[in-house]
Subunit: 214 residues, 2 copies
Amino acid sequence: MPNPPAKTLAGRRAQAARNDEVILEAARAVFLDDPKAPIAAVAGRAGVGISALYRRYAGKEDLLRQLCHDGLRRYVAEAEAALGEPDDWTAFSAFLARVVDADVHSLTVHLAGTFTPTEEMGRDAMRAGELAAALFERARASGRLRPDAVVQDLGLLLEACAAVRVPDPERTGQLRRRQLAVLLAGLSTVPTADPLPGPAPAAGEFDWRWRRRE
Amino acid sequence: MPNPPAKTLAGRRAQAARNDEVILEAARAVFLDDPKAPIAAVAGRAGVGISALYRRYAGKEDLLRQLCHDGLRRYVAEAEAALGEPDDWTAFSAFLARVVDADVHSLTVHLAGTFTPTEEMGRDAMRAGELAAALFERARASGRLRPDAVVQDLGLLLEACAAVRVPDPERTGQLRRRQLAVLLAGLSTVPTADPLPGPAPAAGEFDWRWRRRE
DNA sequence: CTACCAGTGGAACGGATCGTTCCGGTCTGC
DNA sequence: GCAGACCGGAACGATCCGTTCCACTGGTAG
């Protein structure tokens, strides 16, 4: 019981431990793509049976809650890390870039309401708000933020970035960075010299929406 | 028999004509709120029975198609109207404001894929693209647009505005205007003097997402 | 070496949802 | 009057989905 032979490969315990990881990853991918995807889709994506899921989580709600809480913790972690950055504006914009890249917004806000939150999540959410406010105030103090912007504008900004979505996840990331750059420029007082990032959106790149869904 | 008339305007034909309007309006409201809402929700919102719907449309797909096509026509109409505006930048930004206000983006892009489009819609979509490009080029010619912005960035911009959503529709409109102002400022080369419009988002204004959804 | 059982795949079940059809009733226009 | 346009809404059948259940397998303890 104490020590499994080889951790790299076979072993029932090893497979189970690996499945923990694989399932969470699949769940993240699937539910980010569609917050009300069926549980079977997660199992399919993970390449495991449904039992493997129900062995780990009491039900769908449990899984969603965990996923959302993970996102919240990620948000808090990124904010704390950003507060360590000396330059005020850099701390602010880098934080947003990290959050956008990790798609934390979809993970938290878009999954919220599909489960009953725990008290700990409430506390974490409050802390997240405080940290964001701190970063925002530092950015404001740097004088580079429009004076009429408020912390809550970050909610609009993150929503705008999360709304960008194309079939290819990597391309989605690039376009979100571009969107973020435009929004940050719009919230800024000093005109930026940097060009808009990423390959610009191309003609027909959004046509996939017109193809029949599901 | 236990049904009193209770109508303000007499005439069966009049009621039918009124229902045409009421149903379309209800359908717009309902499907804008949730693109895959059940047909019964539209009937309920319109205050009519389901038959009143099926008398007018062959099926759900038919209704969706009509709604989407209406949105497309609205887009084209607004673009044509905007092209009449003498000032290049004003034509551009006013067009976007009208489109955002009418929520045309949700009506078209978000409903696309839920039905098989007609050829006429294809033509209209193409014309819409050309008109948007014309407006964009005029804005660029005015020198007020960042040179590295492209027409397709309008897709990102509209998506960002459509993503703003709170329970109160009027408030949603205000917040979308604010989002649009930030994005336009971000796409612009000259710093704008106008402050961000509308009451700024308030603390807790986005908390409704955390309340349990249906 | 062997008996056991943690861990698994996936079929089966029951409930919910939704598009569409159908029928009985009402009221208008003629 | 009365034919039929028009309506409300129950009923139906097709999915879809969360969860349970069961047979099976191979690592592991003793």
